[in-house]
C-alpha cells in the first residue's frame, strides 16, 4: 500500500479538518494568548471593551507585574496555594486510592458495590461536589456539627474562611529558595552520575550546582523583588477544598491501581510465596515496584487537573475569597469580570507553562518509543 493511493488520500482528508481545528484552537489560540499577554489590552479599563481598542505591545511588563507588582499579591499567594494544593491533593488521592485498591484486591464480598461507592463522585461535576461540600463545611454545618452526634461540642473551625496560614515564607526569598532547591537536585544528579561512572554528566551537574549555590549565596540575598517582605504560606482554608477534591478524585487512582493489581500475574505472587516472602515482603518487593509506573501516570494526570482546578474553588468558597483562590480562577475573573485581558492572558500563559512542564515530557516519553517503527 505504498504511494498516494486514493485510500491514503481519503485518510488524510478525514484527518485534515480535525488537524486544522486543533492547529487553530490549540496552537493558534495559544500563540494569540501569548501575544495578548504582551500587550496592554484592558490595563486601561476604558479601552477594554471598546469596539476598536487601542492595544500596545509592552513586552513582558504584565509578567513582571504579576511576580513583583505591588497590586498582584493575590496572584503570588495563588501560585503558592497551587503548589500546596497540588502536593496534598496528589498525596491524598494516591494514598487513599492505593489503600482502597489493596483492600479490594483481597476480594471482599460485594466488591462491585464497594467499587461503585468509591467511584461515583467521579461522575459528578466539580460544581456539584463543591456545592455539597460548601454546605457541609459551613461554619455551623455538617462537619462542624459532627461531634454533637457523639455527645461532644460542635467544632468551630472556619473551614472555608480561615485566614490562618502555616509554613510561611517571604516572597522576596523566592529566588534564593528556588536556586537552593534546584542546586540540591543537581547535586543528587551529580552524585548518581558519579556512581554510574558517567564523568561528563557528573561534571556538568556539579558545575551547575556550584554556580547556582554561588549565586544563591552571593547575589540572591541582595535581590529584592518587592520593597517590603511579603509572606505567603499554606492557608488552612484550603484544607476543606483539598478534602473535597480527594473525595472526588481518589476513586480514579483506585481504579488505576486496581487495574494494575489485577494485571499482576498470579504466578508472580505464587513464585514470591515459594521464595518465602511473607505478605509484607511480597508487597514491598514484588507488588509496589510493579505499581510504580501507575503512580507516575496518576501523578501526572492528577497534577495537571490540580493545576487547572478552579470550578471546585469557585463553587466552594466563591470567587472573591483570596485565601483559597488559585491562578486558574484569577485568570477567569481578571479577564471576564475586570476585562483586563492582557493580564488574564499572562496568567493563562503561566498556567500553560506549569502544565507543559508536567505533560510534555510525559507525552514525549509515551510516543518516542513508538515512532521508530511507524
Amino acid at each position: 500500500m505504498k504511494g498516494l493511493s486514493k485510500d491514503r488520500l481519503w485518510s488524510v482528508a478525514v484527518l485534515l479538518p480535525s488537524v486544522l481545528l486543533i492547529a487553530v484552537f490549540v496552537y493558534g489560540f495559544i500563540a494569540r494568548s501569548v501575544y495578548v499577554s504582551m500587550t496592554d489590552w484592558g490595563n486601561d479599563p476604558a479601552q477594554a471593551l471598546a469596539l476598536d481598542p487601542v492595544i500596545r505591545f509592552i513586552g513582558l511588563a504584565n509578567y513582571q507585574d504579576l511576580f513583583t507588582g505591588f497590586l498582584q499579591g493575590r496572584f503570588r499567594q495563588e501560585l503558592v496555594s497551587t503548589v500546596f494544593f497540588t502536593a496534598f491533593f496528589i498525596l491524598g488521592c494516591l494514598g487513599l486510592g492505593l489503600g482502597l485498591a489493596l483492600i479490594l484486591d483481597r476480594n471482599p464480598r460485594g466488591e462491585g458495590l464497594w467499587r461503585t461507592i468509591f467511584l461515583f463522585p467521579m461522575s459528578l461535576s466539580f460544581i456539584v461536589t463543591g456545592t455539597i461540600w460548601r454546605w457541609m463545611l459551613q461554619p455551623g454545618g455538617g462537619v462542624n456539627q459532627a461531634p454533637t452526634l457523639f455527645g461532644g461540642q460542635p467544632s468551630t473551625f472556619p473551614w472555608l474562611s480561615s485566614t490562618e496560614a502555616i509554613w510561611k515564607f517571604d516572597w522576596n526569598k523566592l529566588p534564593l529558595l528556588t536556586a537552593s532547591v534546584v542546586a540540591v537536585v543537581l547535586i543528587v544528579v551529580a552524585v548518581r552520575a558519579l556512581r554510574a561512572g558517567d564523568r561528563r554528566r557528573t561534571l556538568v551537574a556539579a558545575l551547575c550546582a556550584a554556580l547556582l549555590l554561588g549565586w544563591a549565596l552571593f547575589v540572591a540575598p541582595n535581590l529584592k523583588l518587592l520593597p517590603a517582605p511579603e509572606p505567603h504560606g499554606f492557608n488552612l482554608a484550603l484544607i476543606g477544598i483539598i478534602i473535597a477534591a480527594v473525595w472526588q478524585m481518589s476513586g480514579y487512582t483506585m481504579a488505576l491501581y486496581l487495574a494494575g493489581l489485577r494485571g499482576i500475574p498470579e504466578e508472580l505472587r505464587e513464585a514470591a510465596k515459594v521464595d518465602g516472602a511473607g505478605d509484607l515482603g511480597m508487597y514491598r518487593h514484588v507488588i509496589f515496584p510493579l505499581l510504580a509506573p501507575i503512580s507516575l501516570s496518576a501523578m501526572i494526570v492528577l497534577g495537571h487537573i490540580s493545576l487547572k482546578i478552579f470550578d471546585l474553588v469557585y463553587a466552594m468558597s466563591g470567587p472573591d475569597n483570596i485565601n483559597t483562590s488559585v491562578p486558574a480562577l484569577n485568570m477567569y475573573l481578571t479577564s471576564f469580570r475586570q476585562n483586563q485581558f492582557a493580564l488574564g492572558a499572562a496568567i493563562g500563559t503561566i498556567l500553560l507553562i506549569l502544565v507543559a512542564f508536567v505533560i510534555v515530557p510525559y507525552l514525549a516519553s509515551q510516543f518516542r518509543g513508538e515512532e521508530g517503527h511507524a
Binding site: 486514493k6 485510500d7 481519503w10 485518510s11 478525514v14 484527518l15 488537524v19 481545528l21 486543533i22 484552537f25 490549540v26 489560540f29 494568548s33 495578548v36 489503600g99 483492600i103 476480594n107 471482599p108 461503585t116 461507592i117 467511584l119 461515583f120 467521579m122 461522575s123 461535576s125 466539580f126 460544581i127 456539584v128 456545592t131 455539597i132 461540600w133 454546605w135 455551623g140 455538617g142 456539627q145 459532627a146 454533637t148 473525595w247 480514579y252 481504579a255 488505576l256 487495574a259 489485577r262 494485571g263 498470579e266 501516570s297 495537571h304 493545576l307 487547572k308 463553587a315 466563591g318 486558574a328 477567569y332 479577564s335 471576564f336 507525552l363 509515551q366 510516543f367 513508538e370 511507524a374
Partner: protein
C-alpha cells in the same frame, strides 16, 4: 490502555472461611471508607428534603420529619431551563465528537503514515492544556462568528477540545482490530470508506459506548466554557447551579435539590454503564 478491571479473580471460590481478624479489619476499613464517600450523599438528601424553616445548624444531621419534595419543584423552576440546555448541548456535542473521533481513530490506526504518532501526540497535547491559556482568543473567535451567547458556540468548543480524547480512545480501540482483516478487505477491492462502513463501524459499538459516556459526562460537567461563552438564555446547568448556590440569602434546601438535579444524568449513566465509564477513565491516562 483500554483494559477494564478484570472482575473478581476469586481464588478458586473456596467455601467461605470463618472470619479471621484480618478479614474483620478489612471490612471495618471498607465501611469506614464507604462512610467517607456516602455521608455527603446523606446530608445532600437530608437537606434537600427539609422545608426551609426546618434547616437549622443543630439539626443538620437529622433526617427530615416531614419530607418536602417541593424543593425539587422550586429548584426545577430556577434551573430547569438550564438542565434542558445541558441536555441539548451534551447530546449534540457528544454525537459530533464521537463521529469525528471514530473517523480519526480509524485513519490514524489503520492508515498509518510517517509522522502519524508525532501528529497524534501534538493533538493529544490539546487534551491537557489549561483552557485558560486559549480562553480569550476562543471568546473573541466565537464572538466574531456571531455565536456568543448561543449554545452552538459552546458545542463548537466542546467538539474541538474533545477531539484529542475521542481520537485517542478510538485509536486504541481500533489498534486491537487485526490488520489482516483490513488487508483481506482491500484484496476484495474495498476502499477506505467501504472498509469503514462494512468492517470497522459495525464492530465499533463498544468504542462508541465508551466515548459517548465519557464525552457526555465531560460536557455535562464542564464549567469554564459554560461561564465564558454563554449568556442567561443558553447557560448550562453547571453555571446555573453555581449561581443558585453562590447567593447568601438562599435557604440550603434549594441548592441541594439543584445539585441532585444537576448530578442525576451523569450519575445514572455511571450506575447503569459503570464498566464503560471506567474504561474511558483509564483511557484518559493515555495508554498502558
Amino acid at each position: 490502555m483500554t483494559t477494564t478491571l478484570p472482575s473478581h479473580t476469586a481464588p478458586a471460590a473456596a467455601p467461605r472461611k470463618p472470619l479471621r481478624p484480618g478479614r474483620v479489619l478489612m471490612y471495618a476499613l471498607l465501611v469506614l471508607a464507604a462512610l467517607f464517600f456516602l455521608i455527603p450523599v446523606y446530608l445532600l438528601f437530608a437537606t434537600a428534603l427539609k422545608s426551609p424553616d426546618a434547616i437549622a445548624e443543630a439539626t443538620t444531621w437529622h433526617w427530615p420529619s416531614v419530607l418536602n419534595w417541593g424543593s425539587f419543584r422550586d429548584a426545577w423552576a430556577k434551573i430547569g431551563g438550564n438542565v434542558l440546555n445541558s441536555v441539548f448541548l451534551a447530546v449534540v456535542a457528544t454525537l459530533f465528537s464521537a463521529l469525528l473521533g471514530s473517523l480519526n481513530g480509524y485513519a490514524l490506526s489503520k492508515w498509518k503514515f510517517r509522522g502519524a504518532n508525532t501528529l497524534f501526540a501534538l493533538m493529544l497535547f490539546g487534551m491537557f492544556i489549561p483552557y485558560q491559556a486559549v480562553l480569550i482568543p476562543l471568546f473573541q473567535f466565537i464572538k466574531s462568528l456571531g455565536l456568543y451567547g448561543s449554545i452552538w458556540g459552546l458545542i463548537l468548543a466542546h467538539v474541538v477540545y474533545g477531539l484529542p480524547i475521542t481520537t485517542l480512545i478510538f485509536r486504541n480501540f481500533y489498534a486491537d482490530v487485526p490488520d489482516a482483516l483490513i488487508e483481506a478487505a482491500t484484496i476484495d477491492g474495498a476502499g477506505f470508506w467501504q472498509i469503514y462502513g462494512k468492517v470497522i463501524f459495525p464492530i465499533s459499538i463498544p468504542g462508541f459506548v465508551v466515548v459517548i459516556i465519557w464525552q457526555f459526562t465531560q460536557v455535562w460537567n464542564e464549567f469554564l466554557f459554560a461561564a465564558t461563552l454563554t449568556n442567561t438564555n443558553s447557560q448550562p446547568v453547571t453555571y446555573a447551579l453555581s449561581q443558585l448556590a453562590g447567593g447568601q440569602a438562599v435557604s440550603w434546601n434549594l441548592p441541594m435539590a439543584g445539585a441532585i438535579l444537576a448530578a442525576l444524568p451523569t450519575l445514572l449513566v455511571y450506575i447503569l454503564l459503570g464498566r464503560y465509564f471506567v474504561r474511558g477513565l483509564l483511557a484518559g491516562s493515555v495508554k498502558g
